[in-house]
Symmetry: C2
């Protein structure tokens, strides 16, 4: 009863429904903190970025920071999650509209290559992520964002090849491709000419995919210890 009329009693602000002024202000400073932290972490790295610099950039004090986050690492995690989810969204967007699994794969590849060239993704996710979060948390996070996309692509490709593998092997394939593309991303963003490097990567990966297609057409069976001639 007393709650039913909340929408009238509490002052509302157009942008964010269901929030009081206090909550809005709070959310604003929290966002400012994450924004500034993302920028400074990307520029100077985690260790070299002091909380003082962050709160100064956000024009607040440490009291505010420690009100919203339990510490420096928690703040980093907030930044990390945002960068990761943005990346995952970008990739997912690129996947949409492709029905053919091979096209889907190349589209996903291109999207991933562009994501992996963003400074913030490189620095925060790839470079600092494992060290700051620890390997376990890092993998958990990736598992349900970027890696999930790769896994989906691999599934569709494997399905297209009429291969029916168990879950573990599928995951292994996905891991391998994920690592391959991460490394590929490095060779792109580290190159003096990223465009040429990106073309090389697409050629290389495309060639691997072509090998798969060839095997699919010739109806090779995929089982442990199978394909290798030894």
């Amino acid at each position: 009863m007393s709650k039913s009329s909340v929408s009238k009693l509490v002052p509302r602000v157009p942008g964010v429904p269901g929030a009081t002024r206090r909550q809005q202000y709070s959310a604003t400073t929290k966002r400012a903190l994450v924004d500034v932290a993302e920028e400074l972490f990307t520029e100077n790295g985690y260790a070299a970025t002091s909380l003082d610099a962050i709160v100064a950039g956000a024009e607040v004090t440490k009291g505010a920071l420690y009100h919203h986050f339990s510490g420096k690492q928690a703040l980093f995690e907030a930044v990390f999650e945002r960068v990761e989810s943005d990346a995952a969204r970008a990739i997912q967007k690129a996947l949409k509209g492709h029905k053919d699994p091979w096209e889907k794969a190349t589209a996903g590849l291109r999207a991933f290559l562009s994501v992996v060239q963003e400074p913030r993704y490189r620095r925060i996710v790839i470079q600092e992520g494992p060290s700051v979060l620890g390997y376990e948390r890092f993998r958990e996070q990736e598992e349900r964002s970027t890696f999930a996309n790769v896994l989906e692509i691999v599934r569709s490709v494997l399905a297209a090849g009429q291969w029916d593998l168990d879950e573990a092997l599928t995951q292994t394939f996905a891991r391998i491709f994920f690592g391959a593309m991460s490394s590929a991303g490095e060779s792109v963003s580290g190159a003096e000419d990223p465009v040429v490097a990106a073309a090389n990567v697409e050629t290389a990966i495309g060639f691997i995919l072509a090998g798969f297609q060839g095997l699919a057409e010739s109806g090779v069976d995929l089982a442990p210890g199978g394909p290798t001639s030894s």
Copy 2:
């Protein structure tokens, strides 16, 4: 003249030729520092390991540490280089004796998979390396050790397939495989049953290699934009 009789004038110790007692003592403490640092870095990570703990473990003081190393990061680099060179040596040893490039590749794969399961390699090189050393230094180091081995394998495989690619594309292939194997190593060491996981990895990689062999036999040309059907 005065130098010609050095071998008689300076006290020698059997184990290390050409070193005075002082130099030996010095080398011993330096080694102790690196040993303890490697252990603690592996256990608790870089940030969570204090210099006080290291010097206590090595039974020296910070004066000794700063005499041998310019700082914490320099000490880490010494540890890093040792772990990396050990890994490279192990892989190179596994490569010896194999003439057939495909056998060589699988042998290298197995060696790499075992290396990547060592806690110290995982923690110091993979997890902390990029963050502590920075991406540039990290890649420099890998370039001339572990990655060099992968590159060599890729070269021999490509040569066996009669493919003649330019340097950039070869490097790209090597990068991709390097990343693939790194990731594969994770899925092995992170699995509840590493033996099964390792078998899965070998199956997956073997399958990719089989795809290559298939393409090689059918004489596919490898050029930018070539193999993909799109």
